[in-house]
Amino acid sequence: MQQTIKAPEVQIKEFPLFEGAQNYERITEQITRIPMERHPMAWTIMFGLGFIGATSLVMALAWLLINGVGLWGINQPVGWGFDIINFVWWIGIGHAGTLISAILLLLRQAWRMSINRFAEAMTIFAVMCAGLFPLFHTGRPWVAYWLFPIPNWLAMWPQFRSPLEWDVWAVSTYFTVSVLFWYMGLIPDLAKMRDRAKTHLQRVVNGIFALGWRNSAIHWMRWEQAYLLLAGLSTPLVLSVHSIVSLDFAISIVPGWHVTIFPPYFVAGAIFSGFAMVLTLVIPFRILYPKLQEYITMNHIDWMAKVMLATGWIVFYGYLCEMFFGWYSGVQFEQFLVVNRFFGPYWPAFWALILCNGIIPQVLWLPKVRHNLLALFIISIIVNIGMWLERFVIIVISLHRDFQTSAWGMYTPTFNDWWLYLSTIGFFVMMMFVFARFIPMLAVAELKELWYRLYHGHNGHAHAPATQHAPAPQGGGQ
């Protein structure tokens, strides 16, 4: 029935996706002008801070290469310390980008159009940060090519029955596909930048990267087919990536890791943390570039907060399941793990996790909080911290006291652990600001298509909402 198909768009009538009077010209101008004009002082400051972080990352890695992973706090029994925690944390953050760009596209959620470009950029930079950690955790990153099936003088092949090897394939595929998907969506917008360029340099550079795109209908058709197919491929891909990451744990017999709930629970956690990071970034970027506020409205922010609330509950359900299964397994080691999480030496991490991920996000039930940018910003940071703590709890608490009491130990991160971790955040910030400087931050073509479909699609167009007969170009949003 037609009514069911139209439902989301009727809803959008009540919650406009655009603010202010819009038309094709304005949407294009507002977004493509940002990279072409002078940037606010805050950009320079933030980029500078990020640049310091990125420089510090290079130094941290150089120091690590000189001295080896003995600089870190990892030991026996806790061989997976900060590196794997940070790896899972960053990869999880990346997943919201793919969720927004691919899954919400397939679900025909029109509100994704304003945030997909931004979130995909976040994905790419987060995966870059993620990849560093396992690479350097190998201890000898210069032979990391052994992880790939490249014929070599040892006549050895990777061990394809190991989830760690699956990880290599999953993460590298994920990165590659994310870049392709992102660039695919970017090409028509780079052509817009080329056509509107104010200087020769802008025209040439954007023109080169636009690959000669000329807005042909036949090209658009193939572009759309490929875009939809890439979304269809990315959707199972993103689920597979974090499922495989969780199998790194679940395939072992370590107490607390050998749990069948891990794959869906990890995926939900990834989306939870990813949406938190999108909010952490979008809120200041909206202030820094007020033009974005016309397209990333308070409704978008509200929906992102709701997704965060929902996935937060899935994650919390995961925690409850872990506790229940720990008890119900009847295995003393699993039961001990639950008690050890509650009252063991790392109890502050566990209870802080429950506070950050379980209790504090509940204020998002209140519409007032969801419309308070400062509150949302703080909550999103708390969730980011909470999701980091979750990985700390899973990795360190399980490893530090497993079966034999004689093999128990403690793990304390060192200065070098923190140095490397905080530096990757700096690198991430720098990359986000580089992105904002040179690339249209929102998907212009997709926004215009959406605007046409929602507010301008009279004349009995198939997708036009029946109640929206607003032929005037300034009819958008009110």
Binding site: F160, L211, R222, P236
Partner: protein, 182 residues
Amino acid sequence: MAHADTTPKLYGLMAEFETPEQLLEAARRTRDAGYRHFDCYTPFPIHGLTAAMGVKEAKVPWTVFICGLLGAIGAFTLQVWTSVVDYPLNIGGRDLLSWPYFVPITFEGMVLAAAFGAFFGTHIYNRMLSYYHPVFNVPQFVRASTDRFFVCIESKDPKFNRDETYRFLQSLNPLSVVEVPE
């Protein structure tokens, strides 16, 4: 041939429209008038436009499908060949051909190859990286990426006749009709 010797070589005639609806109508009528070598230019994808133009094509989906299939077969074969034939390793007493363990990488290989197929397939069929194209010679064509909608009937169309085609395009009520020099 239709054009006289004195005329410069012509790529085609281009008509400019203000709204997607007008363009859809124009595309349909161009098609109905018997033209086959023409293209539309729009700032964003318009649903139903290629249908109105009479263009039907599934090259990209087929490319993606075949690439995905080859990727899956390739990744699975790679794992079987290395783990069973070339360097058999006993991992925890599992069968050498422990195929369930090969599923994740088979899947990733499928996705990777299919994504490459989608990206490069699209751009190869679109002849991307050809930075020069006659349509860029039209001054108002820059607006094709902002807010104008164009139809261009190409001179290689057997039905193309400079004057008749010009009159035909004028009958579609465009904002303008211009020549596109080669």
